[in-house]
Symmetry: C2
Subunit: 697 residues, 2 copies
């Protein structure tokens, strides 16, 4: 158990605000605790001598509790928590609502609560929480109507109603839990804390949750990465869609970070993201009880051809693949199955198969080292005893230590078999696709638990130079920088074309003379965003024309916008766009996850096809490499259609260097290198735009 | 009822091969018929005087039956069918297996069976069928263990085992059926026949099915288009994935057509394609019982914020949208909901809502004309009576004639409510996403039933000229044609650049002189596929260089492949690729659906991004137009990034003209116009390749 062990296994729980009043929250919590809790319950209320026959103390200090559950009205709740802290209680669950979720007065109260918690180093759940449960000590410190049954899932939820709904349903399905937490407003303890705690708890087999937001994205990623080496995490993070994000924001005041950030952040964290309640529990049940497959190859054993084909489609839809049997296995099937059967995967044992033939086929398949897991898929027949098939399935799964999913189709006749399967932790489904999907979750987690996370490379950079360039915004009315910040990229070792910004025509000539071949010239002004539209860009200027080009650019800019601040004219080496691929490397700062890196090919690929990929920075080399591989248009980088491949390692390094830059400087709010031209000989950052918060420098 | 009415409502059923032998198919069918059938059952078997106490006739002619169910061994089955036809029986179900599914002898037997059926104009189901059911006359003419309960779904399946599995489950769930057909090998009657029949049957509310293949794609599309104006069709068509297609092929010998053809064919047919068994029945249950929404806007009414957000995400994932309430509705909500509630969609009536508040909120929402349908979503609370909420839901749904989906979350406490809902045809789900998805199916079908299918345009073309050009393959050892068939496109009014194929350098000069500007010259040879690789294409040849270019092209071709057949050199007008967008218009012939048209942008868009779309030909103008709109890269055609839009109507017309060409000539096995260059001023087909089957000309 981790740091929160006492929160989930207290010896004495004090209920601050305990009462007997029917229908009150204080009564409901007392009822729930008294009904089951292994330890001592102490009601705290100066107005009563006893509550439900239990002597009442007037002061938390007199309770000698290691957990305080606070249900007093909001106006006195913070004071109650302070007294708890003062008296040495370290674990507090604040049920009371009327904090951050209710306007400015509540928000102030929540800040105060956080300060008190910090002062006394409290493990504080809530406020605005349904409470917590832990079946290890039979503690139901919630005001919900149902206690949890014991089991291996630890469950956190940002919706109390969802907890009551799930428990009502789960108790009916014999699905058990270890700990349950209603997160409430997450003033102190948040999802990262519980993930860490449950990762350290040997009794937790799988962590599940419903979240509307994540407080500290990077902290969560780091915590989850460690935990998911041993313990799977499956989450529904709602607000996936625009409509959902808006609803989440109005529900819990969650500031909507982009779903791209959540999607990549959860992926980087090793979290399995479920898209629905059904998927959450289907995945969690298998993950909590079944062995992990050593490979992704599924064998389907069925007595029903049609459903076998449906299951095969589901395998095609999943990350799994159909196992190819060894020659030996095929021979054994040939000897053991009737001629009308199918010895290839999906294996058809034929409708007249009795239990022996079915068991035999499953055994042959599981014995094949090319098989990582199996689906036992059956239509009801007169010659097949489902309960026996269930026993055989469980026995063989255990014998070979390979996960098996069950799809015994039918109605009531399935029930005895489903009981046998459930006791062994194998859910049974009517739909072959659900059985396959539950194996897919196992396989996904097998990959996650085998992940090795590299450290980000630390490049040798000129951080001071970068700081100085960024500081240029301090004296200006505008916090945006453009090509005048190209040196920022140089400072972080990102290649840029030769060139400089000049403020006279003769200087322009001098720079151009130093550059081989023709040059590109661009007006540099924070006030002129669309340079091309006003003729502010000249491509292929020969040395002889540089002087006039300079004058012309300045004139155009002045005519276009007389009051524009003009920094000068950039004179830059021509980059051969035809021999390269235009890419974009960028960063936006997400409210939860911080710096979110973007990569894609330029032009239509980003603008029209939206073919982009994201990572939360800092990224390791392997992650930067994945970004260059997973966009749809990646083959163009690798030299499709007879072209020479671009220098992809240079692109990967640029992503890493940008990652380091934006991690080093939280003041950079957004930054785009567009285009970063990638040729067979390297990369060049041709243009850059960024926004800087001077207050963070 | 349609043409097959007698098949599903016979007065007398003869069982040819009836027997009392335990465990036999003949016995099982007799048992099933005797148990329930409203009409007369006549066993036919020369070896018995009676079967199960019913007098047995030795000859089908003596049975006076209007339906014969044939279960005799394969060797005498065809003869039994012949005798049935001879004696005037028009409806035959062949249960017997050992036909096309079992090698060449069986295939011959199946051909014979088809001939007999044709001779006597039989409505023949099977062979290799589980049988048929019709609850209208309580007929279970299958050898499965369960009879269906009455209901409004008519169900066909290419898997008998799937029928037994579904019935076992459905009977437990109180899901009823009208007719059930095990299609077997579909020697005579196939899915199109049953779709037509059930479309004419007023007792069928929804047609559902499991198919591994469709026999006659175009016929099925036409039949389904008509039926789906009034009756929804929901199908699982397996073999969606490569693995699944392979499994389907080994299961029923279905020749794998491309899934692109099925996907577009089913879409063009107006069929809702379910991807899983769960989706099939979730959709079908709603479609069979609920009114269609007049618009796609959903109101979510909930007492639980978190699940409300999840449901909103599900709406975001679906084709539905979140309803925006009228100002009047918002005012009414404000007056009726507590301040902590949410009057915007999803409407949160808050956890302390009793039945009155919940009902009231649903009524306010359904009364808003911006609301097309609703989800009633509830977590269990102490103050809410689920059964009453269910009655309110049903009542209000009926009062406003708007569909409502139910997600009453919880365990056993939900059961009485679920019963009330089920009686009104509203399934209840634990998962909000499933409730939303079932509404989505209603909305999808509302669009389908409102579709108007245009007739394909008949262009004035030169069919004889086309025939002559195609006939060029007759004298050759190769059935592929290239640019030498450009006139084929001209014959069908598809614009091509000026140019001709010549076989002398002086002719080349003459043609080039007639063409304004420089020309493109290409070697024309069926034996040289990759012309560019051997330098067989010259772009931008000026008039002066044409002679030498001709000689050079011929020399290169001879050197490259001395035995290549060289038809000549094409001299063609230059097409300005830079001012246009390269597209591809093509056709492949699918084994089931026939001519499958393809459209996409050329180059990387087709080759790397696989950004293509398909339609079964012939297509109407509206369908051709959709093709140009639904690819991801469509904005490029419409003039993205500051370019002039291409002449999209000319592209649409080209697709239609190609559609007419490949419909007129089944001999064209495949054809690609690549590129078809689309500029603001029209289109030009720059290159063409096709394969022709001379035997079909």
């Amino acid at each position: 158990m981790g740091e929160l062990s006492e929160l989930f296994a207290p010896e004495t729980v004090a209920v601050v605000g305990a009462t007997e009043r029917e229908g009150s929250v204080g009564r409901a919590i007392m009822d729930n605790l008294v009904a089951d809790f292994d330890g001592t319950v102490v009601p705290v209320n100066p107005n009563y001598d006893e509550v439900l026959g239990i002597p009442c103390v007037s002061d938390i200090g007199a309770a000698d509790a290691d957990l305080a559950v606070v249900v007093v009205p909001p106006k006195i709740a913070v004071e109650a928590v302070r007294q708890a802290g003062e008296s040495g209680v370290r674990n507090v669950v604040v049920i009371t609502a009327g904090f951050g979720e209710t306007g400015s007065e509540g928000a102030a109260r929540e800040r105060e609560l956080r300060e008190v918690a910090e002062q006394y180093d409290l493990n504080l759940v809530g406020p605005n929480s349904l409470g917590i449960m832990s079946t290890g000590v039979d503690m139901n410190a919630t005001f919900g109507p149902e206690n949890a049954q014991p089991g291996g899932m630890s469950f956190m939820s940002q919706s109390g109603a969802f907890i009551t709904a799930v428990l009502d349903w789960a108790n009916d399905q014999d699905i058990g839990f270890r700990d349950v937490v209603s997160l409430g407003n997450k003033a102190v303890l948040d999802e990262a804390d519980f993930v860490r705690e449950w990762g350290d708890d040997p009794e937790t087999d799988v962590v599940i949750g419903y979240l509307e937001g994540i407080e500290e994205g990077r902290e969560f990623i780091d915590a989850a990465r460690e935990v998911t080496q041993d313990t799977p995490i499956v989450l529904v993070k709602s607000g996936r869609t625009d409509a959902g994000a808006q609803a989440a924001s109005s529900h819990t005041g969650t500031i909507a970070g982009s779903d791209e950030a959540y999607e990549t952040g959860l992926e980087q964290a090793g979290v399995i993201r479920a898209e629905s309640v059904q998927e959450l529990f289907d995945s969690a049940q298998m993950l909590g009880s079944q062995p992990l497959p050593e490979q992704d190859d599924v064998a389907i054993i069925t007595n029903a051809g049609g459903p076998g084909v449906m299951a095969t489609d589901a395998v095609g839809d999943s990350g799994l693949s159909m196992a190819s049997f060894s020659d030996e296995t095929l021979d054994t099937f040939s000897e053991n199955l009737p001629a009308e059967g199918n010895i290839y995967n999906p294996v058809d044992v034929v409708g007249d198969a009795g239990n022996d033939r079915f068991r035999n086929a499953l055994e042959i398949a599981l014995d094949d080292e090319n098989v990582g897991c199996a689906v036992v898929l059956s239509a009801p027949t007169a010659v097949l005893d489902y309960a026996q098939l269930a026993r055989d399935t469980v026995e063989l799964s255990e014998e070979f230590d390979k996960p098996v999913a069950a799809c015994f189709m039918g109605g009531q006749r399935v029930e005895p078999a489903a009981e046998v399967l459930k006791d062994a932790g194998i859910p049974n489904y009517f739909d072959p696709a659900r059985a396959v999907d539950s194996l897919d979750a196992l396989s996904e987690y097998a990959d996650i638990s085998a992940r090795e996370y590299d450290e980000p490379t630390e490049f040798d950079v000129d951080r001071e130079a970068a700081h100085e360039i960024l500081s240029a915004v301090k004296g200006r009315g505008d916090n945006r920088l453009g090509v005048e910040a190209m040196d920022l990229l140089d400072a972080y070792g990102i290649p840029t074309p030769h060139g400089e910004i000049v403020d006279s025509a003769t200087d322009a000539e001098a720079i151009a003379a130093d550059i081989e071949g023709d040059v590109v010239m661009k007006i540099v002004s924070p006030d002129i965003l669309h340079k091309s539209d006003i003729g502010g860009v000249k491509v292929g200027v020969s040395d002889d024309d540089v002087y006039d080009a300079y004058e012309d650019l300045i004139t155009r800019a002045r005519n276009y916008q007389p009051d524009a601040e003009i920094i000068g004219v950039q004179v830059q080496e021509m980059v051969d766009l035809d021999s390269g691929v235009e890419t974009i490397v960028g960063m936006n700062r997400d409210p939860q996850f911080g710096p979110l890196l973007l990569f894609g090919l330029g032009g239509i690929f980003v603008e029209i096809l939206e073919d982009t990929t994201f990572r939360v920075a800092p990224v390791a080399e392997s992650e930067a490499k994945e970004m260059t591989e997973e966009i749809d248009s990646a083959p163009l980088l690798r030299g499709a259609r007879g072209r020479d491949p671009a220098d992809v390692p240079a692109v990967v390094e640029t992503i890493q260097r940008l990652s380091q830059l934006v991690t080093d400087f939280p003041a950079i709010l957004e930054l785009d290198i567009n285009p970063l031209v990638a040729t067979p000989d390297g990369v060049q950052a041709v243009d850059v735009r960024l926004t800087v918060d001077p207050d963070q420098l």
